[in-house]
Symmetry: C2
Subunit: 332 residues, 2 copies
């Protein structure tokens, strides 16, 4: 079996760490694994499958011989280095939003649009976490009944912001429990025992960049620019896992029973929908899980062809690292 | 000035305590204040404006001479005792859902339908907390442009469940921070660093009772049975204050500027909407505040005559105790 030289860029961050874990867990055929980070984290030693690997400074390294590079160092790192990896022969799978909406960059969710992978010209984009966990659930419904419009409100955990945000949640929570003061550094307001309807910068139309990602990326991944989406993205005081409340208008009528049937066999999805037994998705449930949990499926009483549902997916796994490794699996 | 004999039933609970505080804060003309609770809490002594009042056992007391009784002891207490107070001459303002949908019981939000108060026959109902904070914001929009449909997802704090739930959030949070185990007693799953799309029992159509309250009570308060509502109600790990993400379809086009203008002068509402300066509602902001904060107001990019907005209101004050005392003020 052919083995590949794989790089993880941003290897010491939350997503980068999960990319390494996921490569190991899924037995990705790695020949040589190279880890990169900024000079702040370079020199650290990570132990992977018993082997010690030193994190290289991305600014001072030669990228030759790398087949696949998983980027999780944020938008600036991707803008600065992705094309340099491509020039040296690597295919870059980029978790940032640096290239997602560029026409010659495929934006891939393997359960939804795997066929687009072949159109890459060196860079493949990994979608936004909230978008990924939504479209894996929408896809089977779309294929059967079409989708006209989605209204989505999210409940997103702080790990989507990064390590410092997780620290801020934990330290802020402890401070509040101890009646002590905690001045937020990562978010503009306290996040402990709170929530903020503010993810990413605000855009001219009043939506945030995160909300507009859910609009534009959904259309690109589903290959249907006619899908209407209105999103409200909210940061909540959870550590890991994103949940979403969806109100959907399909083009054709589809019964709740049929939706359940479709989702019970959908790839990457676990139907978790037996409210009478307190079985429904919630954020802690999906922590560390590969699949997106979906439940609370019901016929919308407020419109024709309407559906309501609730979903929870691990933002660091299916929302980021796992999806990136699945894209790499499509490539080999 | 005439003074009234006022009773608070359920005086030792979260809402009952806030009712007492609110009577004091708003200088309600109280002649004699009597406090009632179940036998478990009876005998406790509460100090109110320097005066010590002993909590009476509601099961063993004479209700004569009470003019206004504020009920916050839950549905069963209301079913058991409200009519007994009415028989003795009191007007009952009931915070439970025991009587809300009965045709001869007015369901009042003073900023929305104060004129209905006069139709009472002894009992006036205080609406559900999530509904109250929503309709004070909707009313000015409704009056100007009509409302066809609302899709709402909520972010509700644990104080809506009661004291034990607040304890469960705090103890569960501390346990998780200390890597210790905590078995939930109030909720079916852990609530600390989590969220549950489950408030109230599930009904036959797949919605919860809380979700159906938002549908049916909104129609009754707004006096318009044609308003369509789809709600998803979610318990989040906040202590006090409910937030809501609203997607609204109006009957006539209304601009965001006009909505802001209307809400800036709406009673009981604070327009808090300057995202560029990180000014938007969030749950901690509304904790202990009388008004409902509204912001993130934007034109919905997914439908004609659509609006999105986000609001936060204190579920124990405007969502319960304050609204009840405001109803009492309408009576006198």
């Amino acid at each position: 079996m052919k083995k590949y030289n794989v790089a993880v860029v941003g290897a010491t961050g939350l997503v980068g760490s999960e990319m390494i874990n996921t490569l190991v867990k899924r037995d990705f055929p790695v020949n040589h694994l190279r880890l990169f980070a900024s000079h702040r984290s370079a020199g650290k030693e990570l132990e992977i499958k018993g082997e010690k690997i030193i994190v290289e400074d991305v600014d001072k390294s030669d990228f030759s011989g790398i087949h696949i590079a998983l980027f999780a160092g944020g938008k600036i790192a991707s803008r600065d280095y992705a094309r340099k990896f491509v020039e040296k022969g690597a295919v870059v799978i980029d978790n940032s939003n640096a290239f997602r909406m560029e026409p010659d960059v495929p934006l891939i969710v393997p359960e939804v649009n795997p066929h687009q992978v072949k159109n890459h010209r060196g860079i493949i984009a990994n979608p936004n976490c909230s978008t990924i966990v939504m479209v894996v659930v929408l896809k089977p419904i779309y294929d059967e009944a079409g989708i006209e419009r989605i209204v989505v409100s999210t409940y997103q955990s702080v790990s989507g912001t990064g390590k410092e945000a997780v620290e801020e949640l934990l330290q802020g929570s402890r401070a509040m429990l101890d009646n002590q003061n905690y001045i937020p550094k990562v978010y503009p307001h306290p996040i402990a025992f709170n929530l903020l309807p503010h993810i990413g910068p605000f855009t001219d139309n009043g939506y945030t960049s995160e909300e507009m990602k859910m609009v534009n990326e959904t259309r690109k991944i589903m290959e249907d620019p006619t899908i209407k989406v209105s999103a409200t993205t909210v940061r909540v005081s959870t550590q890991r896992g994103h949940s979403e409340s969806l109100n959907i208008k399909t083009k054709k009528k589809i019964s709740v029973e049929r939706v359940r049937e479709l989702l019970s066999s959908a790839p990457g999805v676990i139907l978790y929908d037996d409210p009478a037994k307190n079985i429904y998705p919630h954020t802690l449930l999906c922590d560390g899980k590969d699949e997106v949990f979906v439940g609370r499926i019901r016929e919308d009483i407020s419109q024709e062809n309407g559906l309501d549902l609730f979903l929870s997916g691990d933002n660091l796994l299916k929302g980021a690292a796992l999806n990136a490794v699945q894209i790499a699996e499509l490539l080999i």
